[in-house]
Amino acid sequence: MKRLSVLLMVAATLAVSAGGAYAQKRGGELRFAVSAEPPDYDCHAATSFAFIHPVRPHYNTLLKFDEPKYPAVKGDLAESWTVSKDGLTYTFKLRRGVKFHDGSPFSSADVKATYERIANPPEGVRSIRKAAYADIAAIETPDANTVVFRLKQPNASMLTNFASPWDCIYSAAKLKEDPKFPLRNVLGTGPFRFVEHAAGSHWVGRRFEDYHVKGRPYLDGFRAIFIRDTSARVTALQAGEVLAEFRGQSPADRDKLVKALGDKIEVHESPWVCSLVVTFNTERKPFDDARVRRALSIAVDRWQGAKALSKIAIVRHVGGLLRPGYELAAAEKDLVQYPGYGRDIKKSRAEARRLLKEAGVPNLKFKLLNRNVPMPYTHVGVFVIDQWRQIGVQVEHELPETRAYISNLRGGNYDAGMDFNCDAVDDPNLQLAKYISADRSPINYGRYNDRKLDALYDQQKGELNPAKRAAILREFERHALNEGYTFPTIWWHRIIVHWKEMKGWYMSPSHYINQDLQDVWLDR
């Protein structure tokens, strides 16, 4: 009986696979819009979706996210892997027959060279995610198809790190010749080879005929078209000039496209691993006083704001320091216990006024530094300024252009700032990096040091038991929100509208992942 069940399962799996294989169509060029374009071509130094959308299809990573089963990971260049019981050794078996686009063979040496470049970048090479690999003690290559990572201490996020879309695997030979080779060249093992980048216009990739996954990619190629203006992008989508835009649409644009195109399009929605946070410059008075920071946090009615702003902006969810819906995030019953998340806003505002009075600043005035990008920065900025007005605080809204905004935020030239916390994946190590001490985190713009937060951060990072890790995370959140150095406003909501003829693409809570286009096909 047991054998029969197994046989039936195998038969069913084969039938589904066969059916799937027959359903996909080969050929065609996928045209999609990107609202900005990459300044250079080095994955390890990049941070923007404008980079990942055109560049990712040229590369593979060691692991990648299993699209329909996010946040589960699966092998990309790794065929299989094992993790030692103590969590200190990760052994990957690599796929055979993989080639770079120039025909050279891929081996474990390429993985080693890539991760050494990320973890310990040579002089002149920028590695943004270096800290995520600080626990790596050694990388060994016992043979051409095996790579072993030895860690100094357990790291609960290590497998997620290995699936990062930014960790493009480069050719060891090319890196040896020139460590800056990827900055101006695109050479990967991915499903599409690079054809051209016409600055200000488009980016083109063509199918890599020697791609190691048989029958993939389905597309002949892709063309990323750079369209900066939002209304022009929506018009291009509406006209069918592009079939998709993978960052996200506003609710108004979604409604416009649904009205115009009806059942020709598909709409996908998901909470987004992005939030706008308010950060206080704790080196400036009165923001060095926790009572002032807490007052400003608890005066914000996140529940009402989320409901209202979701109608006009790409924000919708009330959450703590981790994305609402993520398995390690705080549930609503925990959230309402945190300062600033209570349901009784009148009571919270009375407390906020009391705190400001106690701190000696009942008629507080300050400037809110925000980014000159309407969606959703200005919308959320207008919202929090209104919330603060209701406790008698007057705020001037400063909206410099992006370069000045970032420079002021990094340089501490602000009172309070609207900052963003966007990541490729749900991972406490990534999302909490903004909250740990400034002398440890380059993205802490609050300029404070809090050793309790640092200790809790390290504790959760090394905790491999999810339940125990969640408990530490709750303590971290409670302390961070009590201190109020930086507090989340409203979490983003991702809306993707694409033409139905584009198939095989999966929605995710991040606009950085699921973009290698390996399984995407056109139903024409």
């Binding site: 108004a252 644009d253 209202a308 309407p374 200005t378 900025g381 209104d386 909206l399 000045a404």
Partner: protein, 297 residues
């Protein structure tokens, strides 16, 4: 031989108050002035006139169409459009008046000085004015805003006013210079020189009062241009910032997303800008006709 004498009688016309005279001879200009005065009063007493606080968010009335409660509807944040237009008049008129005053004033001084000194100084000043004139107004203002950044004083951005004023300078300087060139040749200027008066005294006491008419005309005409420029810069995100009530700003941001669903978000601020510009232009043109003796003849 007898000599016939004819008695000629002169009827001295009754001297009317200048305002009545202006209204009788320039009815369109007077209408423009009425609109300007109404806007100025509404803007000045906005806190009394406006039915709602322009900054109050009302999430229960987002994108509400015009009604008794909200005469011109509400915007994406539920803010009352009518109240924001009234408060916006304060921003528009203050920026327009101050920018025009600064631009026209500086232009007049440069124009008079250029005409008075003549020679190499005149040549240098005029070539510099040519350079400024070579830039389209909006491009020049954009560049100035980008370089200077923001300098908020009393709710107004001083650098925005400077940015709007600078493109006006060469235009006023040209017109005033041409008037001053004629005045420079007058005998009383020679007399003042002969009496040993200093340049400053001659420029400010003897020439400047005589170029007040063209200055006034340019000044009123440029208020309209300044209002339009302020609205354009705010629309482009370089003027005043949210949540301040300003007409140009009301046309940008969320309005661009919801103009189909809520057209009142753009129609009423657009009308306010048009009406203000039209009123100042009518008044400026009429003032020119009224003050120019050649046109009176």
């Amino acid at each position: 031989m007898s000599t016939a004498t004819t008695a000629i009688t002169y009827k001295v016309p009754k001297r009317r108050h200048p305002v009545i005279q202006f209204t009788m001879t320039q009815p369109l200009g007077a209408a423009g002035l009425v609109v300007i005065v109404i806007m100025a009063i509404a803007g000045f007493f906005a806190h009394i006139v406006a039915p709602h606080d322009p900054l109050d968010l009302d999430f229960g009335a987002m994108l509400a169409p015009p009604s008794w409660e909200h005469w011109m509807g509400t915007d994406a944040f539920g803010r009352d459009v009518f109240s924001r237009i009234i408060y916006g008049a304060r921003t528009a008129l203050a920026v327009g008046f101050l920018a025009s005053l600064a631009g026209s004033g500086l232009g007049a001084v440069i124009g008079v000085a250029s005409a008075y000194f003549g020679g190499r100084i005149d040549m240098l000043i005029q070539r510099f004015m040519d350079i400024l004139l070579a830039f389209p107004i909006i491009v020049l203002a954009l560049a100035v805003v980008a370089v200077l950044g923001k300098w908020p004083v009393g709710g107004l951005d001083v650098n925005l006013i400077i940015a709007i004023a600078i493109p006006m300078v060469p235009k006023v300087a040209r017109v005033v210079r041409s008037s001053a060139l004629a005045i420079r040749e007058m005998p009383y200027i020679d007399a003042a020189r002969a009496a040993g008066y200093g340049h400053m005294r001659i420029i400010f006491r003897h020439i400047t009062p005589n170029v007040v008419a063209p200055f006034l005309i340019m000044f009123t005409a440029f208020i309209a241009q300044a209002i339009l420029l302020e609205a354009s810069l705010s629309f482009l995100g370089l003027g005043v910032t949210e949540p301040t009530a300003a007409w140009g700003l009301m046309l940008s941001g969320a309005s661009q997303e919801f103009y189909v669903q809520a057209p009142w978000m753009i129609i009423f601020p657009g009308l306010a800008i048009s009406l203000a510009v039209f009123a100042f232009n009518l008044f400026g043109d009429s003032l020119r006709d009224w003050l120019d003796p050649k046109i009176k003849l």
